[in-house]
């Protein structure tokens, strides 16, 4: 027998209590990962952004547009590699509940700015040659059962009318965190339609996406772009893609802060659960610790047994929680997919889950260990008598 075997036998002395404690810890760790993954999903857009991409929009608000001619002028600025159009289209497929993000983009270069959206070359050719062609993400296609060649109709909201499209491409994400739930149609189709129905709105875009050669010059190029359109009818606001995405995250900041607080409260609750178990356990064993000390075990040994048990329980709960986190988060992702297309448990979340489990194990053992160390042997033995 080793001291570890003795500690393990002690831990399994009350299998039901031990099992329930581990299960409680596991559920708390799963809850922690679900909340943290939700927070990560909120930041997914910003996380997926590239440092070599900038976004230019109207200085007042996203709802105002600016002339598409700005694209050519921006493209001539030193340090700019290329400029693509991307406008929120806001079309509805059959019913409002079928929400997904749909954009009208410049067909000739938008996907060059987004190498993480992987489109087979022949499908890209189709997209470039057919005005009502659409490229959709793999998850979006799966969600509605779309295949290449399917005809899909969207009802316009920002751009009124009924719009007919043909699925000509299905992109996949280069990374697990790439959003595969988006729809990209051609901006020239939208513009052509507007020239016929609402000429006053034609030739305008809501956002321009800019690729630059050197990400370290992003601040300088942003300023150059905005200076160029200062005092014009449509002044611009240019920022990095990350800052642009974070401006959407900011809108839900109070919710995110709330979620963060809840996730740490969950950790606090598991600390109390384990501390309670350890307090009960050590209270029951005061006399046994006194006997061990009488046999020659030091206070350090006794503290080691208590911490060992506490850490063992915490880490069992942590590992079980982490193992359950993946299937549980996959289940949670299904109803959330409309709002959080990227719902992926990150390595950081798993690491923090295990770190918190370890810290909880350590802290939960502190008070019982200190009590066991401080209790004189004769007092411990007297409990038997």
């Amino acid at each position: 027998m080793s001291v570890f075997k003795f500690a393990a036998k002690n831990t399994l002395r009350h299998p039901l209590r031990t099992g329930l404690t581990i299960l409680g810890l596991a559920i708390a760790i799963v809850s922690f990962t679900v909340i943290q993954t939700s927070i990560d999903a909120w930041h997914a857009g910003a996380e997926a952004s590239s440092p070599d991409r900038l976004v230019t929009r109207h200085a007042v608000s996203l709802v105002f547009s600016m002339p598409v001619a700005y694209a050519d002028r921006i493209a001539k600025i030193e340090g700019v590699k290329q400029v693509a159009v991307s406008c929120w289209f806001g079309g509805i497929y059959v019913d409002k509940s079928n929400f997904f993000a749909n954009f009208a983009v410049s067909h000739n270069n938008f996907f060059d700015l987004y190498p993480e959206l992987v489109v087979p070359p022949e499908q890209m050719e189709q997209f470039k040659s057919e005005r009502n062609a659409v490229i959709v993400g793999r998850k979006l296609a799966d969600r509605f059962g779309w295949k290449i060649g399917d005809q899909v109709q969207l009802a316009g909201t920002i751009y009124p009318g009924t719009w007919d499209f043909v699925i000509r491409g299905i992109y996949t994400g280069a990374k697990a965190t790439t959003d595969e739930g988006q729809w990209f149609q051609r901006w020239d189709l939208v513009d052509e339609q507007l020239r016929q129905t609402m000429p006053g709105r034609a030739g305008n875009v809501s956002t321009l996406f800019i690729q630059i050669h050197d990400p370290t010059r992003s601040a300088e190029i942003c300023k150059t772009i905005d200076d160029q359109f200062a005092n014009s009818a449509a002044e611009t606001k240019t920022e990095t893609e990350e800052a642009f995405q974070l401006s959407f995250v900011e809108m839900g900041k109070s919710i995110i802060v709330g979620l963060e607080i809840i996730s740490y409260l969950v950790i606090g609750i598991i600390l109390l659960v384990l501390a309670n178990t350890m307090a009960m356990t050590t209270r029951e064993r005061v006399s046994e610790y006194a006997v061990l000390k009488t046999l020659g075990f030091t206070s350090f040994h006794v503290a080691g047994l208590i911490f060992g048990e506490s850490l063992f329980l915490a880490l069992c709960g942590g590992v079980l929680g982490v193992a359950l986190a993946f299937p549980v988060n996959s289940l949670v992702a299904i109803p959330m997919s409309n709002f959080f297309p990227v719902f992926h448990v990150s390595t950081m979340t798993i690491t923090w889950g295990l770190v918190f489990a370890f810290v909880v194990g350590l802290v939960a053992g502190l008070f019982p260990a200190s009590k066991a160390i401080r209790t004189p042997i004769v007092d411990g033995l007297r409990i038997i008598d």
């Binding site: 027998m1 080793s2 003795f6 006997v291 000390k293 009488t294 046999l295 020659g296 004189p376 004769v378």
Partner: protein, 229 residues
């Protein structure tokens, strides 16, 4: 007379309840020669168990000194005391105090985990100790699968497994029926005679005390016939 193995000199022990001092031992001095089997008797509260605790180094005297072998036990620090106890003292409790989650073998092996013995050496020593107490056929039994007498014999095996010089027994027959008590006392007597263990036993039972070479009576924290030094 044999060399004094234990020397207790002018030992006083008091407990404090708030500001009230409760004297338990008053100026106790006596020697225990090597190989003696001493029975300490006396009414409850007379200080018998306190003397045993002081000898085991699990409690400290308020005044005076206790020397066991060459070691001034009352002056050792906590860590040294634990180490000394693991090597030189075997303690037998009234209620056996076996670990319920460990088998007889594992309970006896427990003090050996503090030594540097190999697994094979530990096994050999545990088997020897269990055979001395006549329980070699119960090694895989848990305490709740043993009778009270068997549990106490496992506890005695645990006390002797490190081959200590001094065995301290606190009412070892107090929780046993007459037959089991007799068997435990025969075992202690054998350990004293055959294995030359110095034994100090606290008991209320005159029958158990008869097995000892020397009986000392305590009354209100004092030795009844005065100190022997």
């Amino acid at each position: 007379m044999a060399q004094p193995f234990v020397t207790i000199q002018n030992v006083r022990k008091s407990y404090w309840r708030e500001s009230l001092e409760i004297p338990v031992l008053r100026n106790i001095s006596f020697d225990i020669p090597t190989g003696e089997f001493l029975a300490l008797m006396g009414p409850s509260g007379s200080g018998k168990t306190t003397i045993l605790n002081l000898l085991a180094g699990i409690d400290r005297p308020s005044e005076g000194s206790i020397k066991i072998g060459d070691v001034e036990v009352s002056r050792l620090g906590e860590a040294d005391l634990s180490r000394w106890r693991s090597l030189h003292v075997g303690f037998i409790f009234q209620f056996y105090n076996l670990m319920p989650v460990l088998t007889a073998f594992e309970n006896v092996e427990l003090p050996l985990l503090l030594t540097k013995l190999s697994k094979a050496e530990r096994k050999k020593q545990v088997e020897t100790a269990l055979s001395i107490v006549g329980l070699e056929d119960r090694i895989h039994h848990y305490p709740n699968q043993l009778s009270g007498g068997q549990e106490q014999r496992v506890a005695i095996a645990r006390a002797i497994v490190t081959d200590p010089d001094l065995l301290l027994a606190d009412e070892p027959t107090g929780d046993l029926d007459r037959v089991s008590a007799e068997s435990v006392m025969d075992l202690l007597s054998r350990l004293n005679k055959e294995y030359k263990k110095t034994i100090v036993m606290v008991t209320h039972d005159p029958r158990a005390a008869e097995k000892a070479n020397v009986i000392r009576h305590l009354e209100k924290g004092e030795l009844e016939n005065g100190n022997n030094r």
